[in-house]
Subunit: 126 residues, 2 copies
């Protein structure tokens, strides 16, 4: 498949885009195991740098990301994954997209409402 | 502005998305200088890791990317930049998007036509 996992400690950034709305939902990192797991399962699976292990998106929330289409870029070092999102949002802060803050006159502004209550999904520590 | 430039040697990934079509065009990296330059000029400016210097996208091709909107993610370590693309494509291989290859039955397939001749724009060495 010729993906180039050599550039960033064996990790590739994977952009997750909603296949229908075309909204960019999040960016995660995959190592070769996460990539294989994503292909085998059809569920987007990342490598968690903080927890140092594979992490199927939605494994605790149930908000899995079903793979619809996958592209790579001209350098084979970035993935673009079109998904169907099985949940109200991907962001652990309770938003549809992790990109919920927009620059307005030099300040980051939360430009949208939460789509779910993160404490109800992830517990009170979030 | 509180962007977190500490995680990857002072660089943040910046996803470039066409503001109209919502197509993801490319991913580049910005250091703090490139970020400042992007804000000041309104033209997307990256830091080139291979050439070790600032690189305004389009400086040789004329295919500049005009900033329309900027978001950041929940960790403040990734940028999503909506642009108006002033050219037939962003990819130095001659395509509208760097993500011109799609996975089909385990193989990367070029799913689209070139939108310009890269040799005419960048010279014969491309």
């Amino acid at each position: 498949m010729n993906l180039d996992f050599t550039k960033s400690d064996g990790l590739l950034p994977a952009i997750v885009q909603d296949a229908q709305s075309r909204r960019v939902l999040m960016v995660g990192f995959m190592n070769e195991d996460a990539w294989r797991k994503t292909l085998e399962s059809g569920n987007v699976t990342f490598y968690s740098r903080s927890r140092n292990k594979l992490w199927m998106k939605g494994e605790s929330s149930g908000h899995v990301l079903r793979v619809k289409d996958i592209s790579t870029d001209c350098d084979n070092d970035t993935l673009l994954i079109q998904v169907e999102s099985r949940g109200p949002g991907v962001c652990h802060n309770g938003y549809e997209s992790c990109f919920y803050r927009t620059l307005r006159e030099g300040e980051w502004v939360e430009a949208e409402q939460r789509t779910y209550d993160p404490a109800a999904v992830y517990g009170a520590d979030k």
